[in-house]
Symmetry: C3
Subunit: 333 residues, 3 copies
């Protein structure tokens, strides 16, 4: 494809030879001839110039280059769209592997692919263009919306609901029992876990993450939210829209997370708190109370980022001045 043709599709402006052909995409480090790459800053552009790439997507404000450029508003987004243009998704054709075990009451949409060794129990409903890869287990009465993609060995417990275009990576478990017990005297009883999990459209969930079903209420993951690998979402949690949650976060029972919250890795949130919309939580934070809308928090326990940084600076200053402090305290004592 000529870069001039690509530029039209991604709403960019070519600078250099319009007739250069690109055949593939790659990162700067491994770019070869015919490859389109992208550079967000001057350092990356210099690297791209030393590579064998044929064309570089870059910002409107970037300096000129010895390489052909396509200037766009958002080079990373343009790269992504270029990828879709060069490698369009092939429409899948209906296919159920002969080793799959599918209950007769399962309802299928069009163009559904079911891999080897899949097990689908009774009264499951599956939309159009769904891919369920090898080794997945779908228990009874689940609903899987259009264009969902379940990678190998995903498990859905009963009644789980996936709206359209949900991606679940390998090993994800949806709808397992929440951690609810009643103690009476010396005995620990298991509390009934009767709710379900509802995952709204365009959600992606990383490998080996587990999402508990609600106990009496439901657990809900809002539309467009992205959850990374090995996270734990407990029963009755409500996650809003456009939430970004990095790997290994743990959200305890009945937590409410507002829209557009961003959470770095290994954050823990205590049960029953609310994290306001647009909040940002630094990695490894421990949230032990409600968080205001738009707050930027970090630490154990999490405090406003500026305060946590001040505390860290203070500790550093104190250790440096310890001998003086110590002398003062001794004199006063």
């Amino acid at each position: 494809m000529k870069i001039s043709d690509l530029a039209v599709l991604i709403k960019g402006a070519v600078e250099g030879d319009n007739d250069i052909n690109i055949t593939s995409l790659s990162g700067i480090g491994s770019a070869g001839e015919g490859d389109l790459t992208f550079a967000l800053d001057e350092k990356k552009l210099s690297q791209a110039e030393k590579s064998r790439s044929s064309c570089v997507l870059t910002t409107l404000a970037m300096r000129t280059s010895t390489k052909p450029l396509i200037r766009v508003h958002n080079p990373k987004l343009a790269f992504l769209i270029s990828y879709r243009i060069l490698y369009p998704l092939e429409p899948s054709t209906s296919f159920i592997h002969s080793s799959a075990v599918v209950a007769s009451s399962v309802k299928f949409g069009n163009n559904v692919c079911i891999g080897a060794q899949v097990s689908i129990e009774g009264h499951v409903t599956i939309g159009d263009n769904v891919i369920i890869e090898s080794g997945c287990v779908i228990k009874g009465k689940c609903f899987i919306g259009d264009s969902c993609h379940l990678y190998p060995r995903v498990v859905l417990y009963q009644n789980s609901v996936l709206k359209r275009n949900v991606i679940l990576h390998a090993g994800v478990v949806v709808g397992c029992d929440g951690f609810g017990y009643v103690k009476d005297q010396e005995t620990i009883y298991k509390f009934p876990q009767l709710g379900k999990v509802i995952i709204e459209e365009n959600v992606e969930i990383g490998a080996n993450t587990s999402i508990d079903r609600g106990s009496l209420d439901d657990t809900v993951i809002g539309a467009n939210s992205k959850i990374d690998n090995l996270c734990h979402i407990a029963h009755n949690v409500k996650i809003g829209r456009n939430v970004i949650m990095a790997a290994q976060c743990g959200i305890a029972g009945s937590v409410v997370i507002g829209d557009n919250v961003t959470m770095s890795g290994q954050v823990a949130v205590i049960d029953n708190v609310t994290i306001g919309k647009n909040a940002t939580i630094g990695g490894k934070s421990g949230i032990i109370g409600n968080i205001d809308d738009g707050a930027v928090m970090w630490g154990l326990p999490a405090r406003p980022l500026a305060q946590t940084k001040r505390q860290m600076a203070l500790l550093f200053w104190l250790t440096k001045n310890f001998s003086i402090l110590s002398k003062m305290v001794k004199e006063k004592a």
Copy 2:
């Protein structure tokens, strides 16, 4: 079922119309007509009164209500028992799915259900009323006691022992090799992992948790203990009875955890320490030494809760008074 009849079974006292019928259970938020719900405090009772629920389980001391009440000693426990009464477990009938691969030397009790795509290797013993769901892999010589329930895709390595009534959720791995190596010069050798995992009766283990086999000794999970999702239990760990461990905790090798210990989420315990019985460990704590019986600990490293709270208050006070402190230190220097 009439609430007067239910009240007899759960040892409660009806207040209101004895003849009201209940047909189902639910939380206050979603309670409809015919539903039994429960309220532990006045606020919840007020919510229940606004709902369409037909009857509310509540405490002996609660105020009177416009709704029919059943007063009991422990409403949550009574709710749980009511659930069992309204939805009795159907006895399973023996069933081995035709796609399961079961070695001829496997011994089965009565009423065993084996789901699709299950693989059970040689010399495994399975008790009565066991359910092994789709996609589980049971390696050789395992023992699975009466009434165990293995959800989809559980893996048991060789020689794993589950006593009666153990519940393992999807993706649990029991008996994988511990993390044991011997360094010599530049080379890292794998140390033999020869022990097994023993899980005592009434234990429940959450999705995608892993429990290592012992290296030379065994790893043991005591009776009635409950372990949440995504926990890591290393080789040779001994967990006592009635231990509650929330999600994503990591217990290093040869740790001993006493009876009735409660651990919130994302706690880490260094190898070879002992946590005394009845101890309580706050979320995200890092345990780096032995913990006394009954201690209440929190922090990184974990210290008695009161001390950790004092340190946090102190840090807050210090940052507030930093300018004064700084002046004092400068004058003294």
Copy 3:
């Protein structure tokens, strides 16, 4: 086997009756007659003397004993080698279970074992002496080197490369999509994840760990490195040789970890930093910047161990002397 014969093979010196026979190995706690055990210190030797073990591997410098000893340079290593001598690995014979689903384009080496319910997609290459246990899913174009062992329910996404002698425990996911998105206005787009995972020789990876494929570059795990259960390795991470990473660590995108780094459990590393070779990171640390070669770090955020310990001591001192400090500040204010 006579201990004199064993001593020759492990380059040790017998002290006591050369003709004693050993038939098995065990830890001191469970040692019976005919068992070889090992003791690294006097306390353990005393325990061994009270056991029924027939022979004790110990150091060159250890005191004499009532038990027959074999003195060696590294008793733990000698124990491991003795284990291999007494329990040699039986050569597997080629075997593909009839329930496995294997694409016709898969290339097999010699002596390959494929368990029940395995699924192997097109154009996979498998070396000699490979074991792939029940329920594994190998997606297209993967390469599995000689002597690799995949425990049950491992998933390899497309293009994953395992060099020789790699061990993957149950539930491991290799090659899942990295957590990469582009935000534009209100919309979150999934960034293409085109790279692969390369795992070099002699690597062992623990249960339910996930390793993301590279986005544009590759994710690489260096030779001889050992990664424990439930770790998360993000896209484009480069892990060096001989790295030891304990359970539940999380390594964010594009991190570089040098050779011989040792990391305790639940460490988190922020994206794009470099951890110098031979560094040691304490448990639960949060790494938020580059780490020098050979550094010993601990804390959140991680600082040199001595500094973190000094801060902890300081906090303790401050809480103890708070009333004096408080008085001083009040007088000065």
